[in-house]
Symmetry: C2
Subunit: 215 residues, 2 copies
């Protein structure tokens, strides 16, 4: 087991979300068995993953609060995370108005777009109106930004990434269907929604074939 692999990190995030959910219902402890149900992970996998956190107690399970605390440290959710958004199209607006990030400590502080029509508008929890991309370098020089979300069109991705990197941004959350180049030390997470749809379509096709259906 590699405590660095993509699959492992994905599971950590999943445990965390599940635990927060369970805590809402007043649950105080879980066994690996209980935690494993509903999240498509085996109990054995849960134990292997969580063992290094040192929170488990034989014969008892895991104290939810302790487990959450450890995971929050690992996931960097134990502190405030400032985000900015570049690209305020419909997808960008959806990100700004979605309130499912702030409960995990992530908040959009500012948003940037090239379209002058959008500049000056506000969305969601945004305290300041949308700014011009020209203001981005100055903003980065004067504010601490941990993550920049990117919802610009594919052609502009690399140039925006370059501005962000030059401005010292270390975390990039990219929604455009491209894989921009980033230097070492900059972490990029690509969310490729079209690929997700194609995956679904493949499995659908495959299951149609298995069942000899023509439609």
């Amino acid at each position: 087991m590699d405590f660095n692999s993509d699959v492992y990190i994905k599971r950590l995030a999943r445990y965390y979300r599940r635990l927060v959910h369970l805590r809402q219902y007043g649950v105080l402890r879980v066994s690996s068995e209980e935690l494993a149900t509903h999240i498509k992970i085996s109990p054995s996998q849960v134990r292997t993953d969580l063992s290094k956190l040192g929170v488990g107690q034989s014969g008892y399970g895991y104290r939810i609060n302790n487990l959450i605390a450890e995971l929050e440290k690992l996931l960097g959710v134990d502190k405030r995370n400032n985000m900015i958004l570049v690209g305020v199209g419909k997808l960008g607006q959806a990100l700004l108005t979605y309130n499912g990030f702030s409960k995990y400590s992530f908040n959009f502080m500012a948003a940037f777009d090239i379209n002058p029509q959008l500049q000056g508008e506000t969305f969601g929890m945004l305290l300041e109106p949308v700014k011009s991309i020209k203001e981005l370098p100055y903003y980065l020089a004067t504010h601490k930004v941990s993550i920049a979300a990117l919802a610009v069109d594919p052609e502009s991705v690399q140039s925006v990434v370059d501005i962000l990197v030059a401005g010292g941004v270390k975390g990039i959350w990219n929604f455009a269907p491209r894989f921009p180049e980033v230097p070492d030390g900059v972490v990029i997470e690509n969310v490729h929604i079209q690929e997700s749809l194609l995956k679904l379509s493949f499995r659908l096709e495959e299951s149609r074939v298995e069942n000899n259906l023509t439609n």
Copy 2:
């Protein structure tokens, strides 16, 4: 190599998108080496993945058109795919107005929401205004729907899924942070955007620790 695994399907989708991109620039053939660059996949992996498609030619590479044609069959993109949307919040609206799906044969035909204020409105390419969820069973009985996108709140996911399944929908593209139960034969793809953000945050945290930075 398992020609059914999640990682393999993900790569197929990625090859396909890349090939369509290259074709736009008039490229007629690629080698595994060329196809592999820019998409974070090794040439060796490309050859293993594509070998069963029977399109490659020794000493020459792959004819882009042939490869695309084969992948389109596998991915079910060689025909029109009717989609509907349930849940027309900001995220739903972003999906409706995003025009990156239709070029891969996916089109939203109708959208449903419980909110009466939204009913009657139109978004993006939608031909008919947003309908009440009450109309969903009748719609499903009278139209062929291959994929239903779900952007409702987490509490409603399972009940909407039940309606969809009862109506014969075989493909569900779920954007709500839950894992609804579906019977065999129904394919579900979960897009968990919060987990994606948490993954990014974890790697950022990790890289901070590696570099002994406090911020």
